[in-house]
């Protein structure tokens, strides 16, 4: 096992790039370093962590998409900087930043559009992860209905794909979602 050790940039730089304070970064890094002494998280570890949080379902697909969303440099491993920047966006970012991040999560092939296949993949991954807690019980085409409902809401010009702008506008109009987003304000 090669001891590849990655060190993050200095504390000041990270503080500038994220919305966390020095204290918070210290706490985050100590936990991160404890779990991954080599300084990077690979996809296997990611899936393992998620499996622990969702033991009743199969979280591997969703973890895979999440990993890709966090791994902005696309090199197969997440460094502390990627980790903390992603967290900062999701927990402390503006509404627009959060929605952009979610759009990137759904856009699996990074072409700027969400099409039906990508959405179906994501919905299926989430249903798999929830496992037996999905209600109603997972029948064959329930994910499909979910995808249809999503496209109905988001795809304004009915061209079969959802662009970033359509996504953001549609989300801002959705009251439920706005309220849920509020809940995640400042949760650490």
């Amino acid at each position: 096992m090669t001891m590849v050790c990655h060190r993050p940039e200095g504390l000041e730089q990270l503080e500038a790039q994220t919305n966390f304070s020095k204290q918070e970064l210290q706490i985050l890094y100590r936990g991160f370093k404890n779990e991954c002494p080599s300084g990077v998280v690979n996809e296997e570890t990611f899936k393992h962590i998620y499996a622990q949080f969702f033991p009743h379902g199969d979280a591997s697909m969703y973890a895979h998409y999440l990993f890709n969303a966090f791994d902005t440099t696309n090199n197969g491993s997440i460094k502390f900087k990627d980790f903390v920047v992603g967290l900062s966006t999701l927990l402390r970012g503006t509404l627009r930043e959060k929605l952009e991040w979610t759009f990137h999560l759904y856009d699996i092939n990074r072409d700027g559009y969400i099409n039906r296949e990508e959405m179906t993949e994501i919905v299926r991954a989430i249903y798999d992860m929830m496992g037996k807690y999905t209600y109603p019980a997972l029948k064959g085409d329930v994910p499909q209905q979910h995808v249809d409902a999503f496209f109905q809401k988001m795809d304004k010009n009915k061209d079969g794909v959802v662009t970033m702008e359509e996504f953001i506008i549609a989300c801002q109009e959705d009251e439920n979602m706005m309220r849920s987003m509020q809940l995640f304000e400042n949760v650490m």
């Binding site: 936990g31 991160f32 998620y50 999440l66 989300c171 650490m188």
Partner: protein, 401 residues
């Protein structure tokens, strides 16, 4: 992996943002984290050795002493630290458990001391990491066995008798601890002597003696002095029977006594004689009767009452029974494999000794016990010494006694 969960929790919460757009209803509120996020360093003084750690580290395991409010009982206001009057060496390992999530067992420590420390700090031994678990289990088993032996030895010690013991209890005690009274000691030595006499008689009666007048061939002494040997045998058997019946009478639990190993050996030692008395002088059964006399050799095992060493050997064999069983099984497998190979290899050749697979068994066994040249099929000539040495060597690798 309590440490892991705490670390990744904000991440799991953040990732929930990912499925918000798909949620049909509002999400439930996440649980509010009441504990203050600001971390502080705690000072723990264990018998003068000061340890420092983050409070969060200790909070990872809330069902232990250090993780719960129980540690407040040990807080010293004057020095602003937690004071424990325990072993600082062991505390190192306890604290490492909080830090890394894995509990290690230090090899040079006494297993009981370690267990006591774990019990004090409220940590269950089952969470010892895989790296140290085997060592821990072995030491624990060893310790328990030693304790069991000690208690057994203590029970059989020379404590004075309870004042109102019946004659039966006194008799039983005399049998179990020969050095408590002179009578018991005398009886002990007498039985030992007669066991020796019996075994020697068995051996001597097969030695060839001068033939009496009128015969040419050498006779075994047993046939020449038949009456003498018969009398000696009778005397020994009478003594053994008497001893067995006395023990049976004195035993506090007769059923348990009859089931014990020593009692079985006693019975097997004297049965052949009685069966011989009962059986008629029939030609057909005399063959079987001769075989029965072989069991007289079991009298030698009666010596285990007199020798602690023999008893320890018995315990060792018993505790290594599974390893010995495996050894036997693998030997059998090897014998069958090689015998089959030899048989089929020599199948075509005329005049081969391997006429069938069982016939090849014999060759294989003899070769495996490294006798090689002494291939005689008329009588069993297994060299017991070699076999025992070889078995002992193998057993040593498996068994740790």
């Amino acid at each position: 992996m309590a440490a892991g969960v705490a670390t990744w929790l904000p991440f799991a919460r953040a990732a929930a943002v990912g499925w918000l757009p798909l949620a049909k209803k509002t999400m439930p509120k996440p649980p509010v984290d009441n504990s203050s996020r600001s971390d502080e360093i705690l000072y723990v003084n264990v018998s003068g050795v000061r340890f420092q750690t983050w409070k969060n580290t200790l909070d990872r395991y809330p069902d232990t002493l250090l993780g719960s409010s129980e540690k407040e009982f040990f807080y010293n206001e004057d020095t602003q630290e937690y004071f424990f009057d325990r072993d600082p060496e062991m505390f190192r390992h306890i604290l490492n458990f909080y830090r890394t999530g894995k509990l290690h067992y230090p090899r040079h420590e006494c297993i009981q001391a370690f267990d006591e420390e774990l019990a004090f700090y409220g940590i269950v031994p089952e969470i010892i990491g895989d790296c140290c678990m085997e060592e821990y289990r072995d030491r624990k088993k060893e310790n328990q066995e030693r304790l069991a032996e000690d208690t057994e030895a203590n029970e059989a010690n020379d404590a004075p008798l309870p004042p109102h013991s019946t004659s039966r209890e006194r008799l039983w005690r005399a049998f179990e601890n020969p050095h408590t009274s002179t009578m018991a000691l005398v009886f002990y030595y007498v039985t030992g002597f007669f066991i020796a006499v019996s075994v020697i008689a068995n051996v001597v009666e097969t030695v060839p003696c001068q033939p009496p007048k009128g015969m040419v061939k050498d006779l075994p002494c047993g046939m020449k002095y038949q009456l003498a040997f018969f009398c000696m045998d009778t005397a020994c058997v009478l003594i053994f029977t008497f001893e067995y019946l006395m023990r049976l009478f004195a035993a506090p639990s007769r059923c348990k006594f009859m089931r014990s190993v020593m009692s079985v050996i006693d019975v097997v030692a004297i049965m052949p004689y009685y069966i011989g008395l009962v059986m008629p002088e029939n030609e057909d059964v005399s063959g079987a009767f001769v075989t029965l006399r072989v069991f007289r050799v079991f009298r030698i095992f009666k010596f285990s009452r007199h020798s602690q060493g023999l008893r320890i050997l018995g315990y060792t064999l018993k505790s290594c029974a599974s390893e010995l069983g495996f050894l036997l099984f693998s030997l059998t497998m090897a014998i069958i494999i090689f015998a089959t190979v030899m048989f089929y290899a020599e199948k075509g050749t005329k005049g081969s000794t391997f006429t069938s697979i069982p016939a090849s068994f014999w060759y294989t066994i003899v070769t495996m016990t490294t006798l090689g040249k002494h291939i005689k099929r008329h009588y069993i000539q297994v060299d017991l010494k070699l076999l025992v040495l070889w078995t002992a060597g193998f057993t040593q690798t498996f068994c740790r006694h």
